[in-house]
Symmetry: C2
Subunit: 409 residues, 2 copies
């Protein structure tokens, strides 16, 4: 069961002026489930994206990157579940293009490059593009601004709960709304390996500032989560700013920019953490915080070494304060000339290791008490600089093996 996570309440996902969402049951892989989503954007909407670095990336990822790079105004996004259109070679690229052409026609857009396509589901199987295209008119028929919860449900694959958050801030006396949805169930799935995130706002922001904002936000949210270290072929995060709130266009590095940036980063962070909380088999949500390192890179190395270690993840599942495993991971993280005697390790507020070994005052019961909680903070203080990094992850349970060994889509 997801760790401290439930689906958004009805009406908790606030409409964003200029963003309409429509869904359909297109029978792409299974019957009787929402599996196709169109997000239509009002004229003048700015869009920015960040995509998987996996070199086996899916056809729609390649095409979405090309369409964003074309500089043409993006008018709509289309997302199908049930099939990732990855490992599908040139035919897969044709299918993604056909989908864009069909949606551009239906919406009266000038060019197929004004559509961003996304797919998630099984890899290495041909996209049933006819069913995707056949489902588009139904999506367009039910387009409306108050459809975010349906949209969150339409992009789910093996997720247990739908994921969405809204936030409002005030800028120049006007209310700005931010709403986002995400999918991915943490333990990145067999052939269902995708994290997707879509976040929209009615603020007006320059393209330059939006691109700066997405880098900032993704580095503090989607790039800080890990379940099993596997990077998918289809991971994508998209920011959309419609400008329909009526405020003046926000430029980079202004006070308004910082306010919007922080609010959007907060929504992105909650969406990213929701993916970890919904990790299959997950029973614990861990925050691994590495402080006082020389630079961000070494802090991230230590945080990821801890977060990826199957030995540590199984110990968390067992609520076992197994310090040796954590110290060993710090030791092999690859930090240059690390003085292991200078660092401290905390579980929650409890100092558990210092001077290269167990802290003198530490009692095993203290560590065990922290480990029993569903949310656990692991803090490593390197004491050699000013940098810090945080990674969120979950534990590693029987169910992880069960799901990934038994399940074959």
């Amino acid at each position: 069961m997801p760790v401290n996570l439930s689906a958004p309440q009805a009406n908790s996902l606030l409409p964003v002026k200029g963003v309409q969402l429509g869904f359909a049951e297109a029978n792409i892989r299974k019957q009787n489930r929402k599996d196709l989503l169109v997000i239509k954007l009002s004229e003048g909407t700015r869009v920015a994206g960040v995509f998987t670095k996996n070199q086996f990336c899916a056809a729609p990822v390649t095409l979405s990157k090309d369409h964003l790079a074309s500089g043409n105004e993006i008018r709509a996004l289309v997302v199908n579940t049930g099939n990732a259109n990855a490992g599908t070679g040139e035919p897969g690229m044709q299918h993604a293009k056909q989908t864009c052409v069909a949606l551009a026609d239906l919406l009266g857009a000038k060019s197929a490059s004004q559509i961003l396509p996304f797919s998630t589901g099984v890899i290495l199987e041909s996209l049933p593009v006819d069913r995707v295209i056949a489902g588009l008119p139904a999506c367009i028929e039910n387009l409306k601004e108050d459809n975010w919860l349906n949209a969150a449900e339409a992009i789910m694959t093996t997720d247990i709960v739908a994921k969405g958050y809204s936030k409002r801030i005030s800028l120049e006396g006007k209310t700005i709304t931010i709403t986002g949805i995400s999918k991915g169930s943490g333990m990145i799935h067999p052939n269902m390996a995708t994290m997707l995130g879509y976040i929209a706002t009615d603020a007006a922001i320059s393209q330059l500032a939006l691109e700066q904002l997405i880098d900032y936000a993704v580095n503090r949210s989607f790039n800080c989560i890990t379940v099993d270290g596997d990077t998918s072929t289809n991971d994508s995060l998209i920011l959309m700013a419609t400008g329909q709130s009526g405020i003046a266009e926000i430029q980079a590095d202004t006070a308004d920019y910082l306010a919007l940036r922080d609010a959007m980063t907060e929504v992105a962070t909650l969406l990213a953490q929701a993916i970890v909380r919904d990790g299959e088999g997950a029973t614990k949500f861990m925050t691994v915080q590495v402080e006082a390192g020389r630079d961000l890179e070494e802090c991230r190395k230590v945080a990821y070494a801890i977060s990826h270690s199957p030995l540590i993840k199984t110990a968390f599942f067992a609520s076992d304060p197994n310090l040796g495993r954590i110290l060993a991971a710090i030791g092999y993280a690859g930090v240059d000339s690390l003085d292991v005697n200078a660092m401290q390790l905390y579980l929650g507020d409890v100092l558990v290791a210092e001077n290269g070994g167990r802290a003198q005052a530490y009692q095993e019961e203290q560590g065990a008490a922290v480990m029993k909680e569903p949310e656990i903070l692991v803090r490593v203080v390197l004491n050699r600089g000013e940098a810090s990094a945080t990674v969120w992850t979950c534990d590693f349970s029987y169910d992880y093996v069960k799901i990934n060994a038994d399940y074959r889509s």
Copy 2:
């Protein structure tokens, strides 16, 4: 159960002239088990070692490196199980030194720096050095050349079977014997995280050539195995050459050197593979072979990405030829400008993927047949160079989680 691995037959581990082994039940952690080993070396023996790069390395690792670097002739090794003497700070270093001093005294060696100490077992607990030292006389009493199987048993921790191999070659009309033992049970254990290997020969070889040989051998054996990617605090491999066979001292890059090098590498490889075969919960032994890469580094990156992926390891456990997971791992391995359309993926002899997707002639039953075998070859042909790399690993089963979640030493 270990995959195609059983303990050495009695008399299959051949004595090496100049190497005497003695063991004891020293009650270091548990009663009634061999937990202390002394390996005594004849005068003139050359010794070389390779040690863990984990910065949280154990006190005996630091001390063994110092003693080897001193240039003093090594007269004996001492190995205890039950306690790793790691994460024990300055007192741990004192304990390791006391052990060396005691054994040097008993053997009449001039200096404690002629002893190499090794420990394996729980981390973060104080070494019961009194019991170690008290056990040394018993080890010395039963020192003999024909004690290799006892020695292999004395260094076991959670290993299911003892690990040892011998090989004979002929050089200059004389018989050269190589015998080695190793420990480690693949799934690198909670607080029992150590791989140890000791290989001896009666060949005579220069120090320079021996150090060249150990680098060659370790890069093709112990550095090519992985179970869960965790690197221990105590990993060590030691080569010993007594010169008692009566052959002339072998110099680097001669024909005799190459013959000895290849034979010792073969023994090291079998010992390293035995650790993977004894991986707890392991049901499959996988050889991941990456060919036709630009350089060794990128081949190893791909091989390790495949070998470390929990998604792939659980699929092997399930005998599921889940190609998407393997292709995704190749895609995120970090190979510079990889052309995914140019590479091929084979399971055993079966071509399963090419041109960026499933191979046209491939039938799922073919892949499933390969995956059912206990020994599986995964071959990736990158088609962009001449380099290659091999990694051996095992699958990831319910028992891995069970052992690592339930067990706390």
